[in-house]
Every structure is written in C-alpha cells, then in structure tokens.
C-alpha cells in the first residue's frame, strides 16, 4: 500500500512538471536593470552568413544605445517569419519588430497586429522620408497609409552573357532596350543546347511585363484587380510567343535560372539583384547587367522586406522599436547590410560612403540596379489577401506559358479567381 502511494506521488510529480514549466515561462521576459529588450524577427531569403551580419548590427546598436537591448531572432524565410509573427501576436506574445514582405504587411494590417507609422514619421519632422529611394516606399504602404519602413530591398535586373553576345555578333556593351530587341536578341542567342532567355515565373516579373505594356494590376485600396485588361493579355501573348518559338523555357524559378545562367544554359535572364553575388562568384565568363528592356513604358518593381512594429506592446517599447528601425535605415547601417547581403541600400546617401564606393567599384553591376530604381514601383499585387492573389497569378501564368490555356481565356479566368478572393473586402 505504501509503495503504491509513493508511485502515485511520483506520477503526479511527473505530470506537474510541464505545468510548472508553463507557469514560469509565461511570465514577462525578465528585464534586468530596467532595460527594454526588443525581440526582432528577421527572415533570410538567401544563403550566406547574413545572420552574423544582422547580429553584429544589433550588437553595435546595443553598445551605442543605453537602456535598450535588441535581440535579433532568425525566423526562417518570409513565409515562416509571418507565421511566427502572426501566431505569437495572436498568442499575446508578439515580437516588437519584424521584417515582412509587402504581401504580409497587408495581412498584418488586416489581422490588426501592427501599428500605423504615420505618427512616428510626422514626429521625425519634415523630410524624414527623403532618406529612402521613393520607389521603395510603396511597399511600406497599405491602401495608401504607412505601416512599415523599407530595409532589405531588391529589384529585378537584366543579366546577360557577354561572351555569348560576341559569339552571336552582338555588341557586348549594349543590352536589348525593348521587347522587340529582346526577342531579336533571344532569337540570335538560342542554340540547340541553350535558351536565349529565361524569365522566372512568378507574379513579380510577369506583373512587370503587364505594367510595362501600360496595364495596371490593382486599385490603390487593394480590393480590385485588372488582370483581364487587353494590356495584360497582350503581355502574356508576348511571353507565350517567346516560349513557342523556343527562345525561352516554359517554367523556371529564380534559383533554376541563375544556375542555368552560370552553367551557360541561357544567354540572358531576368533575375533578382539578390543573385548578383552568386553570379559574380560562380560565372566563369564575362557577364553584364542592364535595365530591364522596356515595353511601352520603362517600369520595374521592387520587392523584399520592411520593418513593421507590433501594436501589442507598451508605447515605450513601440518608441524603442521605431528608434531601432530608424537607426537601421541610416546610410551607414543600410550600407553595411547591403554590402554583406547584396540587397540594395535603401538610402541614396549610402552610395556616397567610402565603404560603399569600394563595394560598387568591385561590383559595378550594383550601380545599375540603383540607377534603375528611378523607374521603380512597389511589389505587385498590392491587395488584401495578396499571397492568395499572387499564387493564383503565378499558377495561371504557368498554365498560359505551358500552352494549356490561351492568354485571353486564362487571364479572364484569373480575373474571376481574384474577384472571388477579394469579394469579401467589397463591403
């Protein structure tokens, strides 16, 4: 009998352990000596020792600023960062800051977990936003209001193999300027064992073609899309013709294209500035970059991550989070992040700094990306439920380029899908 009692006590003790752990873990994180500890979720889309650079930036901030300790927490890719941010916010334990991609900023606003930033921007006084490239600011707005500030930004640029240009009798210093030339060059550069051109399929690049052709993707409120416009259909017809003529594969992703490019399997490609370092390190030939060839208009979209601030914390923490985000976007820090990561520095002034000049001298292609920013708009689509709309777009673009549905029917179907997704935002 006594033995059994012991046994039951032991069992109860085992059962209690998780309860005790829960109780102690649920308390506020200990803030010794009254310092504010800011939890900051950041994603990394590309490989490299970016975590170390992020950590060293935060350490520098902590050393230079009394009373605040920023704790950078690597949260996976953009999707996973959003998953962690949203779930922990809903569980009442939000991060103070996070870096989210444009589509997820919309969702964060719809879910009511982040702060509008206009009051902070106003408090900084006039001209605060001048530190950013104007083209990068659009991704920080939801239906016209600021909810974020840009930090790690990228944009597509045009990569080409200069050796193959020479071989095909083309001037290696001049990239195709418009769609007609693009097709002409692709025809000359396509051979039996390589493509002339690769354009990774996703809503980002395909939307650029639509906008270059004079089309629009969505309204500013983010409740409507215009994907069945004649301009949009025509843009898809153009891309489809490149596939049908054999100049371009029907489907590539960003990673596939850059490995094809360095392997000499394609002579030209559209790809992100995020691939600059990879191509620099892997290409065994002479290569160059240029602005994207223009359609009726010269337009490029930006992408990447921006800072958002949680609304589930105290005003003092929100202010501390803003101060940190502001510091990170100053020329010195954005330059350091750009040099280490390959993202474009968000501040024009950063390009004047000596370390940045040294960097761009070694990688002059980064200057092309900067100069192209004067034609930049935000990452499309800018709508509610943007990830779902994006996925519908990417999937339909794949079907069209695979020849499974005509551009006119496909874009009409796509528009119907996006209307269904957005219907609930119409009231």
């Amino acid at each position: 009998m006594k033995r059994r009692k012991h046994f039951i006590l032991a069992l109860l003790a085992v059962l209690l352990i998780p309860a005790v752990l829960f109780a102690s873990g649920a308390g506020e994180s200990k803030e010794e000596s009254g310092d504010i500890i800011l939890r900051f979720y950041f994603p990394i889309g590309t490989a490299g020792d970016l975590t170390n650079i992020m950590n060293s930036l935060c350490e520098q901030y902590n050393a230079e600023h009394e009373g605040v300790i920023v704790e950078p927490i690597f949260a996976g890719d953009y999707v996973q960062t959003m998953q962690r941010t949203l779930t922990s916010s809903k569980a009442g334990n939000p991060p103070d800051l996070a870096l989210l991609t444009s589509a997820d900023v919309w969702t964060a606003v719809d879910e009511g977990i982040i702060l509008p930033l206009q009051p902070f921007i106003d408090a900084e006084g006039e001209g605060f936003l001048d530190r950013f490239f104007p083209g990068m600011l659009e991704d920080s707005k939801v239906a016209g209001e600021f909810y974020a500030i840009p930090f790690q930004k990228s944009t597509p640029i045009f990569y080409y193999n200069k050796d193959m240009f020479r071989e095909a009798g083309l001037d290696p210093e001049v990239a195709p300027q418009n769609w007609e030339e693009l097709e002409e060059y692709a025809a000359k550069l396509t051979t039996a064992d390589r493509y002339g051109l690769e354009v990774p399929i996703d809503q980002w690049l395909m939307s650029i073609f639509i906008m270059q052709n004079g089309g629009e993707i969505n309204n500013i409120e983010g409740t409507e899309t215009y994907l069945d416009s004649p301009e949009a259909i025509e843009a898809m017809e153009y891309l489809l013709s490149l596939v049908q003529k054999g100049y371009m594969p029907a489907k590539r992703l960003f990673g596939d294209s850059s490995s094809d490019f360095v392997a000499g399997k394609t002579a030209m490609m559209y790809n992100s500035t995020g691939s600059l370092a990879f191509v620099r390190d892997s290409a065994s030939f002479d290569w160059g970059v240029a602005f994207l060839p223009m359609g009726k208009e010269r337009i490029v979209a930006t992408g990447g991550g921006q800072f958002v601030i949680s609304n589930g914390t105290s005003p003092a923490r929100q202010q501390a989070a803003w101060d940190f985000a502001k510091w990170m976007t100053e020329p010195e820090q954005t330059a350091k992040w750009s040099i280490g990561s390959g993202f474009i520095a968000v501040s024009p002034e950063a390009f004047e700094l000596p370390e940045m000049v040294e960097y761009t001298n070694a990688l002059p292609q980064a200057i092309v990306a900067r100069d192209q920013l004067q034609y930049a708009v935000g990452e499309p689509p800018k709508t509610h439920d943007a990830r779902q709309v994006s996925q519908a777009m990417a999937s339909m673009f794949e079907s069209i380029l695979a020849g499974q549905i005509s551009p006119a029917d496909g874009m009409a179907d796509l528009q119907a899908q996006s209307e269904r997704i957005l219907a609930k935002y119409h009231d």
Partner: protein, 295 residues
C-alpha cells in the same frame, strides 16, 4: 457503489497510467479536430471571424484548385501506394532468401527511409534538374530523351513526386514485410517443395496468406502516408506547375498558413479527416475477414 469502488481499486492504477497519454490525446488530437470543424463554419475577414454556415465548403468544392487537388491526391495515392507496396514485398521476399551480403542489400534498400524527407527531396530536386541533373545526364547516355524539365513541367512533376515517394518508402515497407516473413515456418516451404510446388505457387499459396496481417497493416500505412504528403511537395514543387502537384494536405497548409484563410483550411481539414476516417473504417471492417491471423 461498492462495485464501483472495487472496480476503481482494481483498474485505478491502469487508468492513472493511461492518464498522461489520454490528456495529450484530448488536448492535441480530439480538441483540435472538433475546433477545426467549428472553425470551418467561419470566414476570416480583416482579422475577424464571421459565421458563414457552409459557405466555405461551397467555395472550396466549386473551386477548380480544390477539385484538382482531390484528383491529384487520388492519382498520387494510387500510383505511389501500389508500386511501393508491391516493390517492398518483392524486395522482402528476395532478401529473405539466403543470398550473399544480404545484410548490405537490406541496409541499402532501407537507407532512404533514414533520411529526412525534406533533405531527400532537396537532393532529388538537384538530381532531376533539367540542365545539371544526374537523371537527365544518365538518360542522355542511354540515348533516351534527356532534356526533360522534371519538377517544373506537367505531367513530369507528379511523376517525380511519385518516384521519390516509392524510392523513399519501398524500403520501409520491405522491412515491415521482412518481419512478417520471418514468422513463417520454413518447414512449410520444405514440404511444399517436396510436393512439387514451384516458386510462384509457394509464394502465392504460403507466403501471401501467411503475411496477410502484415500486408493489411502496410497498405493502411501506405494509404495514410500518401494522404499526408506535404513536406516533399513543399520542397520539390510547391504544388506547381499550374497546380498539378497540389494535394489535400498542401492545400490545407497553403490556405491555413500562407493565405491565413482559416475557414477554408479548416473545411479542407474536415474533408481530409472524413476521407481518412471512411477509408480506415471500410478497410478495417471490410478486409478484416480476409486477413489470416494465426493464433
């Protein structure tokens, strides 16, 4: 009253021992199932849940994406389960004979099972790459079509997914079958041999009936596995190209944790739950009679 006390005394310890797993089952299995059925009647809009009745189910069943996910899942389940189980059985019978280096072959066949599926899928993405992949390279050396973009074009993408599933699980099923085969008494085979039964007859008349409990179990596991495929698809194709490798669980993941559309994700979970329940039920009660349990 007395009887209850007696019972409690008699079984109390057993219940107490079961309590932890019961608590976990309740909180982490039964409660979420019920909650997700409940959630499936709400639509999430601007961060608020709004009651919409069965609208989520209607929206889902009428969407081409969901219909295709169902069709894909059925194709995937049939085309991956049957070959993987047959191959597993074949390998098991082969490696149950006394051949040289048997242990090595068994290990080699079982090896894919040890690898995490995400890692294995990533390796296969490279093997199947159109320009630098080993698969196309080998096909080229054999003089076969070798410019196939395996994971990016239909129908090759779903073929790739199925091949990787078979590669990954056939060895595991082999191991399960092997354990079944070891329980068969050798004397049965010797007797049949003396009676003049050939290899096929021995397999068909002795092996197959006697391992039927194992087969029963393996097939059930294989079916459930094929409905739970998500990591492999996440790594290899993300449901693409144009939805051709989207299956139920990936559909749920995408709607739940990328689009944050908890209503539709819960509806799809409920459907998946119902499908698996029905499959398990019919399989269990329908086939139990034909299974030969030797007791």
């Amino acid at each position: 009253m007395k009887a209850t006390t007696n019972k409690l005394r008699k079984y109390g310890q057993a219940y107490l021992l079961l309590l932890p797993s019961l608590v976990f089952l309740l909180f982490f299995t039964h409660y979420p199932v019920i909650y997700s059925v409940w959630t499936s009647f709400f639509d999430r809009i601007r961060g608020e849940n709004r009651f919409v009745g069965v609208a989520n189910y209607l929206e889902m069943f009428t969407s081409a994406e969901f219909q295709q996910a169902i069709v894909n899942n059925i194709i995937y389940a049939l085309c991956s389960t049957i070959p993987a189980v047959v191959l597993g059985l074949f390998l098991a019978v082969l490696l149950n004979t006394k051949i040289k280096a048997r242990g090595f072959y068994r290990f080699a066949m079982f090896y894919p099972t040890i690898l995490p599926i995400a890692t294995a899928s990533m390796v296969w993405v490279f093997l199947l790459s159109q320009s630098i992949g080993l698969v196309n390279h080998v096909l080229g050396m054999l003089g076969l079509p070798s410019n196939i973009d395996w994971v990016n074009t239909s129908p090759y993408a779903i073929v790739s997914i199925i091949v990787v599933y078979i590669w990954k699980y056939a060895g595991y099923y082999m191991l399960l079958f092997l354990s079944g085969l070891q329980t068969i008494d050798d004397s049965l085979y010797e007797e049949a041999y003396l009676e003049g039964a050939n290899a096929w007859e021995r397999f068909y008349r002795i092996t197959l009936p006697l391992i039927s409990p194992t087969t029963f179990f393996v097939v059930l596991v294989a079916i459930i596995n094929s409905f739970q495929a998500v990591d492999q698809i996440y790594v290899m194709t993300k449901g693409g190209p144009h939805n051709s490798t989207n299956v139920l669980l990936y559909y749920i993941y995408e709607h739940g944790f990328v689009y944050w559309d908890s209503g539709v994700a819960s509806s799809a979970s409920t459907v998946l739950f119902a499908v698996l329940l029905v499959v398990t039920f019919f399989y269990y009660y329908g086939l139990q009679k034909t299974v030969n349990y030797e007791r």
